[in-house]
């Protein structure tokens, strides 16, 4: 537990730093003998998983922290072997079915059903149900989600399911209605600053407020990112100074440069170079919607007021189309070309008006 994100992670509901009221609610939920399926939703780095772990600890005691990780192998109907990593304790099982990609339905059917069907061996002083934690639930395919909904009802006596998702929009309504949704909003700036400062204090470092604020800005209120950034900054330069450089995420910088290149030149040649860059981003595993978002943000920031609306309009159109297709590069390039088109028109009109 060397990384700060792990080292200073709250282990109990009472020690959580923000959304304390919600923590209190969760605790009272645990006090009852039973609780429903839960769905934690909120942006990345808001502390969903931390909360889930705290909740489990509240329910089962410290034994839930004795984790072991296993790799399980499943055979799909098409005779393909897939491996899924699971992390489990005696009381719960954490699984990320999206590891299996399009075969996640098999994981849901085989693994989750199997675990759900078995009873706890030792009921004395414990809950009579186990908990299955599904992380990245919004990556589940529709098939898998449908496979899950019956399991959730049928084996409710022996197991509870906690789903952690970024957005509920990709969860089918059937699952949504079966779960108690708990929103974990990203912490606000002051909360993050105070967390960063307390962390530094425990590490024996002094953190200037300005630096903390800049870290918050850069991390987009993502607490994990903020902590990692601070740690990286610390490795680069040990006693913090207010205007110290904070490391960036490479892909974000790359995306930003791409956007500025789009602004700088609008030629087919450039479009081809942009395509190369987009390919690069896609190969590195940056999700296309993040690329889209990054591009749009940068472009809208940099372009004139008069074409902002139009840019956004096209962005929505192309991003929507991208969801219906499989070759993201087409859609990304289409958007870039469209932006180049309107930007060029705008520029030429500008020159015209300047002339007259």
């Amino acid at each position: 537990m060397a990384l700060w994100v792990d080292k200073y992670r709250p282990r109990e509901l009472s020690k959580l730093d923000f959304h304390k009221e919600q923590a209190e609610n969760l605790r009272s939920l645990c006090k009852q003998s039973d609780f429903p399926h839960l769905m934690f939703y909120g942006p990345s780095g808001a502390g969903k998983k931390t909360r889930i772990m705290c909740l489990l600890r509240e329910m089962y005691g410290a034994g839930v922290e004795r984790l072991r990780s296993e790799t399980m192998t499943f055979t799909t109907p098409s005779n393909r072997k897939i491996e899924v990593m699971t992390v489990s304790s005696n009381y719960h099982l954490e699984v990320n079915p999206s590891d299996a990609g399009m075969y996640d339905r098999t994981v849901v059917i085989d693994l989750i059903k199997q675990v759900a069907q078995t009873h706890q061996i030792e009921i004395s002083g414990q809950r009579e149900f186990k908990v299955i934690v599904i992380s990245e639930g919004d990556e589940l395919t529709k098939d898998a989600q449908h496979a899950l909904r019956r399991t959730m009802e049928k084996y409710v006596a022996t197991c509870r399911i906690i789903i952690s998702v970024n957005s509920t929009s990709r969860i089918i309504p059937a699952i949504r209605s079966r779960c108690l949704g708990i929103r974990v909003a990203a912490p606000n700036e002051t909360e993050i600053v105070s967390i960063l400062q307390s962390t530094c204090k425990r590490e024996g470092l002094a953190l200037p407020v300005e630096l903390a604020k800049r870290v918050v800005d850069k991390s987009e209120r993502n607490l994990r990112r903020a902590l990692l950034m601070l740690e990286a900054a610390k490795v680069a330069k040990a006693p913090f100074t207010a205007n110290q450089e904070i490391p960036d995420l490479d892909w974000q910088v790359f995306l930003r440069e791409t956007a500025s290149q789009i602004i700088s030149e609008q030629t087919p040649n450039k479009l081809e170079k942009i395509r190369e860059r987009l390919y690069e981003l896609l190969t590195q595993g940056v999700p296309p919607n993040l690329i889209f978002r990054g591009l749009v943000e940068q472009l809208v920031n940099k372009c004139d007021m008069s074409i902002k609306a139009k840019t956004l309009e096209f962005a929505t159109e192309y991003e929507h189309r991208m969801q219906t297709g499989a070759k993201h590069i087409f859609h990304l390039e289409a958007f870039v070309a469209q932006f180049m088109n309107i930007y060029k028109k705008f520029l030429s009109e500008l020159i015209m008006t300047d002339d007259f």
Binding site: A2, G45, R224, L228, V235, F330, N341
Partner: protein, 989 residues
């Protein structure tokens, strides 16, 4: 080809009896003037190249007969020449040499030309010489000679003639046939060499001749010398003379004789000549006659079928398909590319060693072949060349041009045991295979798609075909298996075939006697397919001799069509036939079928008919590049038929295509249809469109194009997801849009789309690295997130966190801050399951790389990864390993001890299950089986050693005895006096 008997040996093997006969003869003939003719004939047959050497000699004989008054002189000159060539022979010798063409004179020049005996000019020369001699027999020979001459002019092979002349030439029909191309390719130098060889050979023979003569007729020589002395002189003699000036301006005086003297001399010689004449003259005359008869009969035979063929073709058999009717029956009729034909035939001929080879009885088969194919001379001429070319080094050069491996294995089979003919339908692959196989003397056994080709049936057919031969059939020709349409055969069958082919080699390697021999493939197999890149054919392709069929030349095809049209009395013209050929993509079958159709309709075929009709069109598979070309390029106007739907009664007009949008759209759609692989086509267009002409400067066109890309992608995605192909037809219209936007008249530069594949490959690679990273993350570091979060947020920052600034000094010398950083780095790395491993980089030096390769993840060009220097990495790698061991070591026993105690104390204070640990139980003495007798001891390595107490006591007694003796040794096993001691791993670290 060393393993073969060379030509001479082979010849001897085959014609042993004849040779024996021949060997008997010369002894009798030797004393005579033209003695070694028959022997030389035999030799010549061996040579197969020096027919005119014989000619010279036979002419010698003839001249001896024909001009007796000079014959003496001639031979005398030769003898002199042989005897004292450099001794400055007498003037008479010189003259004679010039007069009668001894080997150094002009005939030698003709000797040079012997390799080119096929050249009609020489033939003619010889014939004229023959005829000009003015013998009585010439009259009789003349017709035959003329015919022969004619044949020679008609590219007939003279060797054929000689065979007929000299009877016993049983041509090596089954020898490989020679390609005239090679003949042409033979360099001048080679020709010269051959010529020189020939000259030397002739000279040698001549010397042999003269030697025998000299030996036997020394007195005659002397006479001859005297004769010369008497008749020729340098000084002005006292007898009547004729003065002749030699080339070196010296005058020679030749004696005039009286007529009686001449007559006397003539009588003298003819008295001897009778013997010779009966030997050679009559025999030769007879042979000439025979030859003439044979030639005559053949020419008549040849002309006859032609007439009948035309007759039968013209009107009879109305129901027969033209395709069948005009199927090429002879090699010469084949339409396909000559090189292809020849290379296949050559390959087939390479089998002769195995199939016919030493088996002498195969003569019959040859006869059969000759009889069958004998109706045309050309066929034979090909076969005849065969005999010669095997020794021809020229083939070596050919190998590089052809895919054919001319090497043969130990059994004399070609290295490539299967020929694979591939090409689009209708080019005559099957016809070629059949024709050539028959031509080469095989019985064709065809297995095609209509036959059962399950692996079992296939196996049976192949084995039967290669190892057995027909019993009932009259001609016992060996089989040649033709596997038609092999691309449709089941994969197992093809695998069996490949195994069958290579098994022969395997068995041979084992060399298990007769049984091993049994399975060896000894018959050629020809496979035919349309698509050589069929996945099922892959194993076959590697071992086979692949002959790909180039499309037939349209003009050549049209010529054939004209012939057919002529025979069938179909009114047409060359232009329309060319158009027909082009329209069908030079598909012979479809062309002929179309012609038959038109013939049945109205006995005429015009250009309009061709253009107007949909006949003969087929779905041709166009290559990807051709389709891309069609998309990015505006077609040039072409000849087409303008038809007006409203005025259908009016005759349509042939015009040029208007390049209207409609036509272009139709063209593109046609092209796209013909390929069908929309996904790859789209990718190709996508990766190339930016290099094309831009429709407008404002990107509007590009945007439109991209919209269509998006649309195509969406549709394709939906199709693949839902398997709903009802929307498939819409995919093609994107290509039309792209064509209209980007097409130009210029030649487009199109590169094969690779980016999509590269992307796929690279992202798979990345995913694998990432998965390895995910697996390595220990449970104590779950805060780094999962899936995309780990990749996007943690990995880039992790690189920074893992790059502390460390000086390149020993661990002990690092500053406290550095120590702390190092500690931290190591802990993080262990938590995440990372380590540094030494790998050899591409440049050849060693680098420490993270394992899994963190640097490769989320790496963008121009951005630094881990900045640790080599030394630090090395240091960290070591420390990480140590830390691993430390963590893996069991925690100290101290905490567990109280728990164990508690447990023993009572069950009341029972720990939760997960906190319990197993406590080692002391092994009590009664539990052990042989406890009283055996003492459980362990050696240094922990192995249990048994020692019984009884032996111990004995040893004790011994040692006592030893100790008591004045001198004693003690042998210590091992290297040191190691003391066994319990050491925990943490004490070592």
């Amino acid at each position: 080809m060393d393993q073969y008997p060379d030509e001479n040996e082979e010849f001897e093997l085959q014609y042993q009896d004849e040779l024996e006969l021949l060997e008997d003869l010369p002894d009798e003939f030797n004393p005579y003037d033209g003695p070694s003719t028959s022997k030389q004939a035999a030799e010549k047959q061996k040579e197969n190249r020096a027919p005119s050497a014989l000619k010279d000699n036979s002419r010698f004989g003839n001249s001896t007969l024909g001009s007796p008054q000079l014959s003496q002189i001639t031979f005398g000159a030769t003898q002199l020449e042989g005897e004292d060539a450099g001794a400055g022979s007498s003037g008479g010798g010189y003259v004679n040499r010039r007069l009668f063409g001894t080997p150094k004179g002009p005939p030698v020049g003709r000797g040079c030309s012997t390799p080119f005996q096929r050249m009609p000019a020489i033939k003619e020369l010889e014939n004229t010489q023959l005829t000009s001699r003015g013998f009585a027999q010439d009259k009789e020979i003349n017709p035959a000679a003329e015919q022969l001459q004619e044949l020679g002019l008609k590219n007939a092979n003279k060797r054929r003639l000689e065979r007929d002349l000299f009877g016993d030439i049983d041509d090596l029909f089954h020898e490989s046939y020679e390609d005239p191309m090679v003949k042409k390719a033979r360099t001048e130098e080679q020709r010269d060499h051959e010529a020189i060889d020939k000259i030397l050979e002739l000279r040698r023979k001549m010397r042999e001749t003269s030697k025998t003569l000299r030996k036997d007729d020394v007195s005659r020589l002397k006479d001859l010398h005297d004769f010369k002395m008497r008749n020729l002189s340098y000084e002005i003699p006292n007898w009547p003379f004729l003065a002749i000036q030699r080339s070196d301006l010296e005058r020679i005086y030749v004696r005039f004789h009286s007529e009686e003297y001449e007559q006397r001399q003539l009588d003298m010689i003819s008295a001897r000549g009778e013997v010779v004449g009966s030997l050679l003259g009559d025999a030769k005359e007879k042979i000439w006659q025979e030859a003439g008869e044979i030639v005559l009969s053949r020419t008549t035979k040849e002309s006859d079928p032609d007439v009948t063929l035309v007759a039968t073709n013209s009107n009879t058999e109305p129901g027969r398909l033209w395709v069948d009717k005009y199927k090429p029956r002879k090699y010469i009729d084949l339409l396909s590319d000559e090189m292809t034909n020849r290379s296949l035939l050559y390959w087939l001929k390479m089998w002769d060693k195995v199939v016919f080879g030493k088996a002498f009885h195969s003569k019959q088969e040859q006869e059969a072949v000759a009889g069958e194919g004998g109706s045309n001379n050309q066929l034979n001429s090909f076969n005849k060349r065969t005999g010669k070319f095997e020794s021809n080094g020229g083939w070596r050069q050919r190998k590089s041009r052809q895919a054919l491996n001319t090497n043969v294995d130990a059994l004399g089979r070609p290295m490539q045991k299967v020929a694979l003919l591939c090409g689009p339908p209708g080019l005559g692959k099957t016809t070629l295979a059949h024709t050539i196989a028959r031509h080469a003397g095989y019985n064709v056994r065809e297995i095609n798609a209509s036959d059962d080709r399950s692996p079992e049936a296939f196996k049976l057919a192949v084995e039967n075909g290669t190892q057995m031969s027909s019993v009932l059939n009259a001609d016992k020709r060996p089989n040649c298996i033709v596997l038609d349409e092999i691309d449709g055969a089941p994969r197992q069958s093809i695998e069996y075939l490949v195994k069958f082919i290579s098994d022969g080699i395997f068995n041979k390697g084992k060399a298990k006697g007769a049984k091993a021999e049994h399975n060896i493939l000894k018959r050629p197999i020809i496979c035919i397919c349309n698509d050589v890149y069929d996945p099922a054919l892959r194993p076959l392709r590697q071992v086979a001799f692949v002959v790909s069929f180039p499309p037939i030349d349209a003009a050549r095809l049209a010529e054939r069509l004209v012939q057919i049209a002529y025979r069938e009395q179909l009114k047409t013209d060359f232009g329309s036939l060319i158009a027909l050929a082009e329209k069908s993509g030079n598909d012979v079958r479809s062309c002929i079928s179309s012609m038959q159709f038109f013939n049945a309709q109205k006995h005429s075929l015009t250009l309009q008919d061709v253009l107007n009709n949909n006949l003969g069109q087929k779905d041709r598979h166009q290559g990807l590049f051709a389709v891309w070309d069609a998309i990015f390029r505006i077609q040039r106007p072409r000849k087409t038929l303008q038809t007006d739907a409203s005025k259908s009664d009016e005759p349509a007009q042939v015009t040029m295509t208007n390049m209207s949008v409609t036509t272009r759209v139709r063209n593109v759609l046609d092209a796209v249809h013909s390929s069908g692989d929309y996904e790859r086509l789209t990718q190709g267009v996508y990766e190339n469109y930016l290099q094309q002409k831009m429709p407008d400067p404002n990107f509007t066109g590009v945007c439109d194009a991209l919209k269509w890309f998006c649309f195509t992608d969406t549709v394709q995605h939906q199709i693949s997801r839902q398997q709903n192909y009802s929307v498939y037809p819409y995919l093609q219209y994107g290509f039309v849009v792209w064509h209209l936007l980007f097409a130009t008249l210029a030649w487009p530069k199109i590169s094969f789309p690779t980016r999509g594949f590269e992307l796929l490959q690279k992202s798979t690679n990345q995913r694998n690295i990432f998965q390895a990273l995910c697996k390595g993350v220990t449970t104590s570091a779950l805060g780094v997130g999962q899936g995309k979060t780990l990749l996007l947020d943690t990995v880039p920052l992790l690189k920074r966190i893992l790059s502390p600034q460390l000086r390149s000094v020993a661990v002990q010398l690092l500053s406290p801050k550095e120590q702390q950083d190092l500690r931290h780095t190591i802990e993080v790395m262990v938590d995440l399951g990372l380590t540094f491993v030494q790998v050899k980089s591409q440049e050849g030096h060693y680098v420490f790389q993270t394992e899994p390769d963190l640097d490769a993840l989320s790496a963008f060009p121009g951005y630094p990864g881990l900045t640790l220097p080599y030394f630090s990495r090395q240091l960290i790698a070591r420390e990480v390993d140590l830390e691993r061991i430390r963590r893996a070591a069991p925690k100290g026993g101290a905490p567990s001890a109280p728990a164990a105690k508690k447990k023993t104390s009572g069950t009341a204070a029972q720990l939760p299950n997960h906190l319990q640990t197993l406590k080692p139980k002391p092994i009590s003495a009664p539990n052990m089986r042989n406890a009283p007798k055996q003492q459980l001891t362990k050696d240094f390595f922990g192995r249990i050693t048994h020692k019984s107490t009884s032996t111990n006591s004995a040893e004790d007694a011994k040692t006592d005895a030893i100790v008591k003796s004045p001198i004693w040794y003690r042998y210590k096993e091992g290297f040191n006096n190691a003391v066994r001691k319990d050491v925990h791993i943490h004490e070592l670290l």
